[in-house]
Symmetry: C2
Subunit: 332 residues, 2 copies
């Protein structure tokens, strides 16, 4: 593989001249540039990006860490990240955190391969996250709340969202409201549950632990949780699923048991994933400002990189999306 040295030799110039020429510096004459370009071409020269990044000590790229590259990721969020990144002339790479400690994600987090990173991956531990952030390497986390010098938190107002969802159900005269929870270690889930509790309290509805079923944010777990609920002697008036995926699984379970949504039972989800409007019935849910979250994340990174002082905490608001899975309860 040809190096810049070979190119310089063939062109009959010094390496530095070749470097300048290749980088189109104006220190070098047009004719030399052409000579170098010709030599590079004939050798099929490709610069080694690692070497130049090493020399320059920065990479101009930021990483987006996802727990699963193939996952149902919020495409709007990625869009936001991507737009701002490219607008700033930076590169963006996405890497997966599956594999835990020796995942690609951790490698990128710890080995100075990028200038900053955005984390949306529950399977990266808080510990790894905290110890990866360092001066000159800002980290934005979108799925947790960490207090550390080089970590910036962007959250969606999950409490308010949970409140909104629950209140919406209550306003349709539902009082026995089940909560199908995400995994215990999910920060988002805890906050959504908190919102649920708050709404119940504000409307003087007692919380009953029998209405709390644990899921893990997967469709399958929503299905199972719902089956469990059905197996109990009494059905709730409505179910609030901590995310849409679980709600979709739940819808399937309800259908299998001939429980009509929203006639027999109302359902609400959280996230407003793309599928939500296509399931039957179209799912009412809580929408998050995903594009904004993504673009804000990168924005924060650039500010930090530019040496500006920025807040460590941001909260974006949620919004109720009314579709057809919630209906007024007819007292029978």
């Amino acid at each position: 593989m040809a190096t810049i040295k070979d190119v310089a030799k063939l062109a009959g110039v010094a390496v530095s001249t070749a470097s300048y020429a290749l980088n189109n510096s104006d220190k070098v004459s047009q004719t030399t540039k052409e000579k170098v370009a010709a030599a590079a071409k004939s050798l099929n020269y490709r610069k080694n990006g690692l070497a130049s990044d090493l020399k320059r000590t920065n990479t101009n790229t930021i990483a987006l860490i996802l727990s699963d590259l193939s996952g149902p990721y919020y495409s709007e969020l990625i869009q936001g990240v991507q737009d701002v990144t490219t607008a700033n002339g930076f590169d963006l790479i996405a890497c997966s955190s599956i594999g835990g400690a020796d995942s690609t994600a951790v490698k990128f987090l710890q080995e100075k391969r990028v200038d900053g990173a955005i984390i949306l991956a529950h399977n990266i531990s808080d510990e790894v996250t905290v110890q990866s952030a360092r001066k000159g390497f800002p980290l934005v986390v979108l799925d947790r709340n960490l207090d550390s010098s080089f970590i910036y938190n962007i959250e969606v107002d999950n409490i308010h969202g949970g409140y909104l969802a629950t209140e919406h159900l209550i306003q349709h005269d539902h009082s026995e409201i089940a909560y199908v929870s995400g995994p215990y270690n999910s920060h988002d889930n805890q906050l959504r549950f908190q919102g649920y509790l708050d709404a119940l309290k504000d409307y003087n509805i007692p919380y009953k632990s029998k209405w709390k079923i644990i899921g893990d944010f997967t469709r399958e777990s929503g299905y199972r949780a719902t089956k469990m609920l059905i197996a109990q002697r009494q059905l709730p008036h409505a179910i609030f699923y901590a995310n849409d995926e679980m709600a979709i699984g739940g819808l399937e379970a309800l259908r299998e048991n001939d429980i009509s949504v929203p006639n027999d039972l109302s359902v609400i989800g959280f996230d407003d994933i793309q599928l939500a409007e296509y399931v039957s019935p179209p799912l009412s849910t809580i929408k998050q400002p995903k594009y904004e979250a993504g673009s804000l994340a990168v924005h924060v990174i650039f500010q930090v990189l530019a040496g500006e002082k920025v807040d460590h905490q941001y909260t974006l608001s949620t919004e109720l999306v009314k579709r057809q899975s919630v209906m007024q309860r007819t007292i029978s």
Copy 2:
């Protein structure tokens, strides 16, 4: 930022020893390892991955080039890629090709930042692709067919898929079958169209150019193309959309015009994206073996990297998925 030199100095050993210790080589005594580890920890040392990759002249990572990170990418395909990559102890990064010649993708393709790449991005030109592939840097393309020493082609049998879709429609007594095409420069689209033509011919149905409408694989374009079709004086019996996204856009246009699918008109798509089974009516379509395509792609790369001689051409078969958007035509 602490370097290995600092660590060595603090630990009171030579750089080489520090390196060995950090890499857990057995050339170094346990006590030294501990000393070094302690020094590294106290300095919050992070190795510079670029430097070690540079030295080693390989990166152990492969890139997946997508035209849009946020796109509705075949998650199964990515899954296949990911599984095989991690199983081989390599890292996988995804990068976007938006931005054309100075996109992240091109940077990774040309600057030896990865050991191999898989391309599924129509906006990377054939030219860039061909000139990026080189000895020691195999490229697998999933969306075109290129004849070059270091390029490997994996294709789905689009012709057969197009044939299957069209034949399915014909077998339900549809003879006026519209084809909503993808963009002209799409290789996949051309082949699907070829299959359409072949089926028409085999069943002695004349091809009418008025039934060919151009789209660009987006939902929006499917919507527009369908509106155009509706605006023509006569409706076809069925529409074959070159991909599911366009079919979904089409379904919306038909619904708005009170044209019932499949009663008034049958619809079939191509891809079998996740949404397909959720739209109304559930979309009949052609399924591609995406996971297999992804895993095969990486597999080929590893074989080439290992110096084995491998085929340059692979074709995977497609399959008809019958759902509810195609119905027997009642001759009126």
